[in-house]
Structures are given as structure tokens and as C-alpha cells.
Symmetry: D2
Subunit: 259 residues, 4 copies
């Protein structure tokens, strides 16, 4: 039995002797010198350049994701660099490996929730949907994604600003509204302050930009890759990985070493 061959097709980019094309645009003529990196990422994902409004909003959510201080991923990347300084790319890769459900899955969860629950009828009221979503999470004793923050209270300043920017650019639509209603309903139902965190804001705005939820984690990966390169440059100049390692090792094994 012979299996039918499928074709191998990719339309991301191609090149000839004198021309390089990315998503149908001429790299040299239409992109270089004109398109910033955030817009380039938009082109790469969406197959077209963003409008000016989309550009402002998309660059803002990406910029939010770049630098979050000395995160577990940043420390992991630095420790890997300590062992393999000739492979900076592998240190970034190691850090990215940690962007799973706990720290980066949030925006994916938010975007999925909003996209799957958004009614097709654009004038259908959203309040009952928000109530139903929160009730469902409470019943399952699951945590509503995109809400709450250990440090930023009562508001996450990034959310306030991102929604403001979305509004100024005509992109504060029904997905943002549904997220806000979920937040209000959750605060009422749980009886505590539950601000929409940056992850929730980014998830909601990604939906306004028509990004499919499956790629929401990819947006976080793009931002954090930049941040990890930044941390590795700081590690080159002002190393801390060895100290973090030696302290941990000494505390864990110290007694024997002293013997």
C-alpha cells in the first residue's frame, strides 16, 4: 500500500540571487529602514504589516514582555551560560524552556477563554457570559487566568496603561470588555481584590489583534528571548551565576564538605 505524498509547502520567505522575500514583501525595498522589529513580528505572524494603530498596540504588548527582573528563567539561562559560554544560543534556549504553564501559559489561557466564549453576535450582552465563566471556574475550583498579582495591587499599572493604549488606538473592543467583566465578577464572587494582571491584559489585547490563542505563548517567547539576551550580556559584564550556584551548593552540601 503506497501512501499518498503530501506536498511540503512553506510561504514564510524565499530568496533568489537578487531578491529576498518575507511574507510576500521585498525585504530590501519594503521592509529594511521602514519596519520596526515589532511590526516585523506582526508581519511574520499575520502575513501583513500592521496599521499604525495595530503597530502601537502590538509593540506595547511585546515591550511589556521583555524584562521582568531576575526571574527563574533568567537565572537558569545564566547558569547554563556559566557552563557553556561558547553557546549563548543554548543559554537563551534553556531559559525559554521554562516558559510553560506556570509563568507564560497565562496569556494563552486568557486568549483561549475569551476566544472560545465570545459570541458571534456582536451585540449579545457579555455580562451573563462573564458570570457563567466565573461560576464554571469556581465549580471546578480552578483559577481564573489573568487575574491577581502578588505585588501589583490594587491595580496592575501595566494593565491600566495597556488598556489605555488599546483604547486610544480603537482596539479596546469586546474581548477587553469581556476580560474586565470577568475581573469584576470574580472580585464579587471571591470577595477579594483581583486586578487584571499584565498577562490578562496581553491575552485580551492579543484577541483584539486577531491573534489566534495558540500563538499567545509565542508572543511571550518573543519578548522574553530579548530579555534573556539582555540578562546574558549583564552576566558577561557582572556575573552572578557562580555565586548563586556556590551558595546553593554550599548550603545543601556544606556539612560534608567541611568534614
Amino acid at each position: 500500500m503506497t501512501k499518498t505524498r503530501k506536498s511540503i509547502i512553506s510561504d514564510m520567505g524565499r530568496s533568489s540571487a537578487t531578491r529576498v522575500e518575507v511574507r510576500g514583501l521585498d525585504l530590501c525595498e519594503q521592509i529594511l529602514g521602514r519596519v520596526n522589529l515589532g511590526d516585523m513580528a506582526f508581519l511574520e505572524l499575520m502575513g501583513r504589516l500592521p496599521s499604525s494603530a495595530e503597530s502601537t498596540v502590538f509593540n506595547a504588548i511585546l515591550a511589556t514582555l521583555v524584562e521582568h527582573g531576575l526571574t527563574p528563567h533568567a537565572i537558569a539561562a545564566r547558569l547554563v551560560y556559566l557552563g557553556a559560554p561558547e553557546s549563548l544560543q543554548a543559554a537563551v534556549a534553556a531559559g525559554l524552556c521554562g516558559m510553560g504553564t506556570v509563568f507564560a501559559g497565562g496569556a494563552e489561557g486568557v486568549a483561549k477563554l475569551l476566544q472560545e466564549n465570545m459570541p458571534e453576535n456582536v451585540s449579545a450582552p457579555l455580562e451573563p457570559i462573564a458570570k457563567e465563566i466565573v461560576r464554571d471556574f469556581m465549580t471546578r475550583k480552578a483559577i481564573v487566568p489573568g487575574l491577581g498579582h502578588p505585588v501589583h495591587k490594587p491595580h496592575d499599572p501595566r494593565t491600566v496603561r495597556l488598556f489605555e493604549i488599546a483604547g486610544e488606538n480603537g482596539l479596546r473592543g469586546r474581548h477587553v470588555r469581556l476580560m474586565e467583566l470577568i475581573g469584576l465578577e470574580a472580585e464579587r464572587a471571591y470577595g477579594k481584590t483581583l486586578p487584571i494582571n499584565a498577562t490578562g491584559a496581553i491575552g485580551a489585547i492579543s484577541c483584539e489583534l486577531d491573534l489566534p490563542w495558540q500563538i499567545a505563548r509565542g508572543i511571550a517567547v518573543i519578548g522574553r528571548a530579548i530579555g534573556l539576551v539582555g540578562h546574558l550580556l549583564e552576566e558577561i559584564r557582572q556575573p552572578i551565576a557562580r555565586e548563586i550556584w556556590e551558595r546553593a551548593e554550599e548550603e545543601a552540601h556544606g556539612a560534608t564538605k567541611a568534614s
Copy 2:
């Protein structure tokens, strides 16, 4: 014997309840809505926002690095995604792992070469330095980094455009000049067409932007992380990894399977 403790210091970012700071700037007030992703990367690496000229040039070199078609890294990322679709971050990481000496080390090599050979005296002639560099590589039978391309001949159109953009923005300085002289000298010495490729251009322009050579590979990693997310989104919508795998497996093992 007690070892002296070093401090653990990191100045990349920090946050309080109401404020998030990245490299000393207020994220919400000074960055979001104002700074594009390329400028954010510049801030993260250099500790300050770029000038308008630097912004144009830096975004151009990053944009060049995003999409290079169906590279080995892109295929590797797609194959990893096939096995672990719940871990998009790990698929990007796997692709990045392949950005080593063969495909991404070039810009690093170029930047190192130019930075180590640039005389402090800014009026010292560069021709003899270029001659000396090429002679040294020929003696060692090593390949001069940043020259030659299998497809783009007689010029790499990206190099032409990137040097043009650098020139328009006052950043076509002595590092670019030295790279050009090395190219000319290599063509003369080897007796064949050796255009400065995009890697050579990016390495040289990185030097004009004062980026340390140790981080040149990181610039490539940033661009390619975006490209890999793009390829994974295409893989989600129009999968090819399984076909690539099955064809290879069938050719390698076919005879036995048929038995």
C-alpha cells in the same frame, strides 16, 4: 576557611506595587505606547534608548535576521512541536539550539575581527589592516567570516541596502569601511567574487552601534526567535513536519517495513 560572599546584583528591571522599571525607565510612562520592540531590545542591551538614527539602523539589522525560509532550525522546531505541541516554547528553544558556529556564529566572528583589529587612532589607514587580516586567514587556510553567499551573487542585496541605511543615518563608519576593504582584498587575493553577505553587514553595523562582539550572536537569536514563532504558527495551520519525518524514515527504513 570562609569564602567571601559576593553580592547578587542585577540592574535589568525591578518593580514595586505601582511601578515597573526597565533599565531605569518607567515601563508604563516612558516605554509603553512610545517604544517599538527593536528600540526596547536596544534599551535592554545598551541601557539607554537609541537615537532616531540608531533606531532605524538597529531595527533594520534585526528585521534582516527574522526570516530565512525553511532553515534547518525551522524544520527542527517544527519536528519538536510535532512531539510536544503543548510546549511551543520548547520547540522555539530547540530551533535556537542550532544557531551555533555554522549558521549564526558568523556575525560574532565578524564583529570580533573588526573590534579586535580596529586601531585606536581614528585616522590610521585601514587598507594595510585589511591586507594583513586576509593574509593571516589565507596562511591559516581559514575562511574569512562575512564573505560569500551560495545564492546572492555578485552582491547580497541585503548588504547593499543595510550599508545604505547605515550611511543615511550617519552610522557607516570605520568598521563598515574595514569590512569593505577586507572584502575587496579577499576578492583580489582569492581571485573570485566574494560579496559581503548579510552576516558580514550585520557584524560590521553592530560594531558601529557599539555592541560588544560577545552579544552579536544574541542579536541573531532575537531575530530568529521571532522567525521560529512564525514558522510554528504556519506549522499549526499547514503542517509539514510529519511529512518530512515520514519521508526520511521511509527512505531510511523502508525495505524492512515492507517485509
Copy 3:
């Protein structure tokens, strides 16, 4: 508010000037020259050396996991090696990244299913439990893990042999029995041949060895790490990654390149 510090404790290994200890054993005196690598892995995971019976069974399941031909992970590792031959470790890492839910999550799913459904009462009948499990998967239209194979029919020869070895060594207990009953019930309910595959066998036997299900994926990772190093050595001697890449790229982009 000061947070209470937790201690950093690790009991895996420690060393002094004259002694190296692994899980409480003296490496030089009690391990080297006496303990094979599978038993070493058992020690590392379980904190004690295996009995002779456990050793035979544990080494058998690990040996099963080493080599599965030209898998997507093996191709991914080879493609990454093509770009970064100086970082063999990163190529292995890239391949491992693909051992997620699709290819390696199976044993984890099986072990979790068996451990969570095994009654504490060791004389409780298992048939009703197997029926209930299969009914539950059918209701949820989910796939029962550990059953079925595209090539190995009507039996997976590895399962037959692994259960035989487990039996010869007194480790074919109630977890294996429950897996067999699930297989029989599933064949009855779905009306088709559904052999217990190697993943199902390994998941069940892992339970007999008291391995927690959370580490079942780790067993697969151990085996496959060996296999990936093997594939990279073959790639060094008899390279195929470039050919796989070039064929895919040519098919995807060929038209333009020819132009």
C-alpha cells in the same frame, strides 16, 4: 514583613577531598566496577540499589526506550547538530524537547491511570475497574493510553517480552494485570484489535517497580538521551541532516530559486 527562609537541601550526592557519595553510597567503593548504568539510574531515582529481579526488569524497560529509528526527535537533533556541531549537548537537548505528550507522554499517562485507579485492598477485583476506566474514556471520546500500534499487530512483541521478563522476576503484579484487563475491555468495547504497546507495558511495569507516575516521562528521557547520542555519532560519520533540509527547502521554495 519578613518571609521565613526555607532551607536549601539536596541529598543526591556530595563529596569531600577523599570520598564521593551518591545517594548515601560510596561511589568508588560501592558503585564503580559493581553497578551497571541501569542500576545506577535506579539508585539515583529510588535512593537504593535494585534487587537482582528489579535490576533485570528496570534495565529491560530502559533498553526498550533507547532506539526507535529515525524519529522526529532524532531528525531534529541531527538538524540542530548541523548548525552547532560544537554543541553536541544542545543537539541532544533539542531532541529531548520533542518528547512531549505525543510521543513520550504515553507512559506517564498509563502510570498515572494505573496508580490512581489501583484499589488499596489488594484482593479487590480489577475487572470492574477496567470496565469503568474504558467506559469513562469512551464517554469522554478520549484515547486510552498504552493501547494500539500502527506497525506492531496483533501484538507488540516488546510488550510480550517485557511482561514475560516481569513475570520471571516476580514483578508481573496487579498493575500489569489491570493494564491487561483494560486492553481486553477496550478491544471488546471498541470492537477492534488494540494490543498493549511498549508504552503501555513500560507504564505498567514502572508501577510494579514503585516508580511514581510523575517520573515516568523521565524514564523515557533517560533512554532516549542515549539514543540521540547514538544518532549524532551516526550523523558525524554518515550525515543526512543537510540532505533532509535541502530537499525540504527545495520543495518549499524551489520555484523561486529556479527563477
Copy 4:
């Protein structure tokens, strides 16, 4: 111009409905229940099962590599697991990424040094070669690989034991001898105690086993993959990654957070 197609060939393993083959052996009949994991790794790398002597020696060097306490790689793997507990494989991968020149390149360097300097004439004296090697490293101000250890002085107990095991099994040949002579000559030339460390012993013994130096790093990767799975199981039961992270973050950013 049409390029000639190369064949895609892989001889690692293959399977039919009733048979699984690994390096030419029948997995079920000739391997399972008979071959331990170390011998399986030997088969995978060398294409044949080891002799009893080779098995003892090869398992000993692999066992040496499994567990080295709370290394930077182990901490990195734990930090990555903290962020992505659903992807244990990616945490192991992240740890492996750090096995580069600093911590794992040593055995590769030793094996390359010994293989490249070993004279074909098996009765040629080795002392002058050792002298020449040490002189060369001193001239280049480079560090001779495989010598010295921060904790194990005046001898690395693992080296003593590994060479003993090699001797008992007829595998303490001229590569081990050359390594010993290099160590003696280096101690004389540098005027300080420079014991052959475990890396040096493993590199030398790998040569006695006819392993090509290009795969020496792979041997370390195999051992450490097991160790990393062990550390992740300990992390699941007795977590420390969050504490390591929080302490580092607090020290680096504490002042601002308190404000």
C-alpha cells in the same frame, strides 16, 4: 543545474510488525532481559555489544558521570521545571544545554589530545610525547585538560578507582599511560600537585574503549541526563528552586520592593 540526490540512510534501528531491531540485534530476543543499560549504550554507539571486560569498564565511567551534587545544570533544570512542570523533558534539556566547554568539554579535550598524539607505532616511547604536550600548553598559556581538582587532593579518588578497574579488565593501555605521563610532567613543570581528575580518567579510558573523541561529550550527556532526572524527582518531592530564585531576586531587587 540539478543537484544529485544523496540517499537518506540510517542503520540505528528498524522495525516490522513482529520484530524490532537495534544495531542489527533483535531487541526482544537478544537484548531485553539480557543487556543492561550501559551495554545498551555501548551497542548504540559502537554497533556491537561489549565484552565482559569492556562492559565493566564502560559502565564504570558512565556511573561516574551520573551524579555530581547540586551543579549549575541541576539548579537550572530545577528552575526550568518550576516554570514548566508539565514539560519534564524540557527541564532536562535545559540542564544539558549547560554541559559545554566549562564543565563537560574536558573529557572531549582529553580524548582528542590523546588520540591525536598517540603514535601509530605501539612501542614508541610516550615520555617525550608527554613532555612535548605539556611544553606546548605552557607556551600557549593554555590549561592542560584533565588535570587538577578544587576538592579532590592530592588524588581524585575516582581516577584511582577507574584506572584500577581498567587495569583489572585489561584496558589500562597506552592512552591511560600517556595521560599519567602528562600528569607527572605537568606536576614537574608547573611545580604543583595536579592530580588526574575524573574527567581526565574518563577521557583516557574512552580512548582505550576505542570511542572517537567527538563523542566523548556524548558520554557525559548520557550520564548527566540520568542525574538530571534524579534531581527533578527530588525537586518534585522536596522543592528548592523557588527558594533559590526568591533569595536571588530579593537580594538583587530587594530595596525597591520594600519601598
